[in-house]
């Protein structure tokens, strides 16, 4: 639910990082906060438990400058991944203009990835959208653990999560930052294209 101020030529859009618990959503935002200092326009807010697990959400405001004559402001959010925070997850997802689905590459998290994608679909459906309609990018995170523990192959992950969706996907390591920027840029590109169509926004 982007906010478009026609008079001031300002647009504010919301991108939500979704995925199973401990998949690296907050780590993505932390890396963006540290590395994209020029674009970050405020403090990153994290409301989490002692165990460093997101309890409510993380929030990071950014300003990416002018796009097609409009000043674009971006709000990045993460949802709490743990199953028990289902209602908070749905609340944070409300009004999302784009979604990054962060999948955990660890073999033992295969089922959790699929359940979380299904949960995303159900929650979007509750808002009259779906994973097929919303600008969506898939990220296969934790590739830096290759060789240390059993990871799924990228082919396997694509087959599990992206065979039907066919959305842009990226290998990543939120810890090292590899693929984090590319994921965000692609999601932003898709989101802005979609908003241009929806809001009939021209220069």
């Amino acid at each position: 639910m982007a906010v478009f101020n026609i008079r001031n030529r300002e647009i504010e859009c919301k991108i939500v990082y979704y995925g199973p618990g401990r998949c690296g959503k907050t780590t993505n935002l932390e890396y963006i906060y540290r590395s994209f200092t020029k674009q970050v326009s405020g403090k990153m807010v994290s409301i989490d438990t002692d165990g460093d697990r997101t309890l409510f959400f993380d929030f990071l405001p950014m300003g990416i400058g002018r796009v097609m004559g409009c000043d674009v402001r971006l709000q990045l959010y993460t949802v709490p991944g743990q199953v028990k925070y289902s209602s908070t997850r749905k609340l944070v997802l409300k009004g999302a203009d784009g979604v990054v689905f962060v999948a955990d590459s660890m073999e033992i998290r295969r089922e959790k990835n699929m359940l979380s994608l299904k949960d995303l679909h159900n929650n979007l459906k509750g808002y009259g959208s779906s994973v097929f309609k919303i600008p969506l990018v898939m990220q296969y995170n934790k590739r830096d653990l290759e060789g240390q523990i059993p990871l799924m192959s990228i082919d396997q992950m694509k087959k599990d999560l992206n065979a039907q969706l066919k959305v842009p996907d990226f290998e990543a390591s939120a810890l090292t930052g590899n693929g984090v920027g590319a994921t965000l840029k692609e999601c932003l590109k898709l989101t802005l294209k979609s908003l241009q169509r929806e809001l009939k926004w021209t220069e």
Binding site: G51, F56, Y85, K94, M106
Partner: protein, 299 residues
């Protein structure tokens, strides 16, 4: 195996870590030829205890905690969705956002302030009941309700509405809580806020809907449709391509003020808004339409 367990633990995946440590312990126990078996077993057992403790802490973490007042302000700012810029609506949405994030104490304080405004009194009062019930504090909810009954701030119609709303919540929770009778509350018209949308937990399972068309080429006609799926207050309908003339007037955003809902336990009237319309492109229902309606009010 121990390395895997260690990495899972470092990733915060305590259940998976514990599983690996237990497997490792079993392997060590079953293999007497392992060097330093006794000390290895002791080390693994110590790890298991430590992971079990971490797991317990995660499992026992509260579902909601009290945020700082700055965080609560941020929640109000970020999650108060109001399509218009009406200050009253923004304030109500802000208090609702706090309640939805489990910040009941502050939400209650804000709803009580909003009760002072005539146009928000009913919506604020309903949310006060919701907050107390969410906090499992039925006694306080009844006390508040009793005070409202005794005050002269509410019309009879408003109190009837609040009474029915409260009773419904009590029934849904299977509680046996008698509410005080309406008695001699004065009459008068209630002012119900238009954006006082129904919360999801107020919606019962709906099996079918009759849409009464009030304007457009189908004005005066009605369409009965079965509900194919329901999530909260959004119902999905499958409309046959044979009813194409009806579907043409049901575009996304269209408000439907005259709906009749049929459920296994009740029939009621209400309103809704079309939130999605999709023509089915393949399969046995090809050519038919999938329509989502968000229920915004019920009588």
């Amino acid at each position: 195996m121990l390395r895997e367990a260690e990495i899972y633990g470092s990733q915060g995946l305590f259940r998976e870590s514990l599983q690996k440590y237990i497997e490792a312990r079993k392997l060590i126990e079953e293999n007497p030829k392992i060097k330093n078996r006794a000390s290895l077993l002791a080390a693994v057992s110590k790890k298991i205890r430590s992971v079990e403790k971490a797991l317990q802490e995660v499992d026992q973490a509260p579902a909601a905690t009290e945020m700082s007042s700055q965080e609560q302000d941020l929640v109000k700012k970020l999650f108060a969705y109001s399509p218009d810029k009406d200050q009253d609506a923004i304030e109500l949405e802000g208090a609702l956002a706090l309640a939805k994030f489990g910040q009941f104490e502050r939400a209650l304080a804000e709803f009580k302030q909003l009760q002072e405004k005539d146009n928000l009194r009913l919506a604020a009062s309903k949310n006060i009941i919701r907050c107390y019930m969410a906090m499992s504090d039925t006694d306080s909810a009844v006390d508040e309700y009793t005070r409202w009954l005794e005050s002269e701030r509410f019309s009879r119609r408003q109190m009837e509405h609040l009474g029915a709303f409260f009773q419904n919540m009590i029934d849904k929770r299977g509680l046996d809580v008698p509410l005080p009778a309406l008695g001699t509350v004065q009459g008068g018209d209630a002012t119900v806020m238009e954006n006082d949308d129904l919360a999801e937990d107020e919606i019962i399972d709906i099996s079918s809907i009759v849409i009464h068309f009030e304007s457009g080429p189908q004005a005066g006609k009605q369409l009965a449709v079965e509900v194919s799926f329901q999530t909260g207050n959004v119902v999905s309908l499958l409309i046959s391509s044979r009813d194409k003339e009806f579907i043409e007037g049901l575009d996304v955003g269209v408000k439907l003020n005259n709906l009749q809902f049929f459920s296994p336990i009740a029939i009621f009237k209400g309103s809704g808004v079309v939130t999605a319309k999709t023509r089915i492109a393949s399969g046995p229902k090809q050519g038919d339409y999938s329509l989502d309606i968000r229920i915004t009010g019920a009588e």
